[in-house]
Amino acid sequence: MTPAPKTYVRPMNRWWMRHPAYRRYLLREGTSVMVAAYALFLLAGMVCLVLGETAFNLWRGFLQSPVSVIFHLAALAAFAFHAWTWFKVMPLTTPPLRFRGRPVPDRMIFRAALWAWGIASLVLLVLAMRFL
């Protein structure tokens, strides 16, 4: 049996150092860690809310701490970057859209998504101010 030929395999170590676009890609994918972490943080709040007032006040009190403010500023940046990049690639993920027989331009889809982001945020803020 002949030994397997030695074919060249391109090394992939530290591939993200090779191009700024690769780092932006990793940063975009990295926002998902924060999305999951924030879900766990909300879940912890839910657990405390079920456990009772003492437990919930611990969670509520943590919001007041500098650690929480730093965590939330980081989360804010991650969610904003996620939203921006999510809407940027939306023209690629939506099925081909047509309006009056013409394809909808990519930047129109992006702009509509930004409007939806603004309106959804405003609605959430108004609801929170009314009910929290």
Binding site: V35, M46, V47, R60
Partner: protein
């Protein structure tokens, strides 16, 4: 028997989570972590135990919160699973189970808690 890909299902959950995170995430974090603790536009009694218990005693807000948590988890699980592959940790059956399994477990807990908030 033809084997079917699980990809459409997890991609739908990932996509739905991505849309929720993009549309609501920023404001959610801003309200909970910045505006309420600093009292900007919210009174000192905002997000206190009694008001949240009465709010999440209704099925719709409780279920809504559980769904948001669940979709965020599936969004994170899917992206982490694929990005770990890019970073040199191969996409294996075990990794898949770890990622989507923990998202499913977290979702189960969130739904259970939502039910408890409504019933008790």
């Amino acid at each position: 028997m033809r084997t079917r890909s699980h990809e459409p299902i997890v991609w739908s959950l990932f996509g739905a989570g991505g849309v929720f995170a993009a549309l609501l995430g920023t404001m959610l974090v801003l309200i909970i972590g910045i505006l309420v603790p600093m009292g900007l536009g919210f009174g000192p009694d905002a997000m206190h135990y009694d008001s949240l218990r009465s709010l999440f005693g209704h099925p719709l807000p409780a279920l809504g919160l559980a769904v948001v948590i669940s979709l965020f988890l599936f969004h994170g699980a899917h992206r982490i699973y694929h990005t770990l592959h890019d970073l040199g940790i191969p996409a294996s059956k075990r990794m898949m189970l770890a990622c989507y399994g923990s998202a499913a477990a977290g979702s189960g807990v969130a739904l259970l808690l939502a039910g408890m908030l409504v019933v008790f």
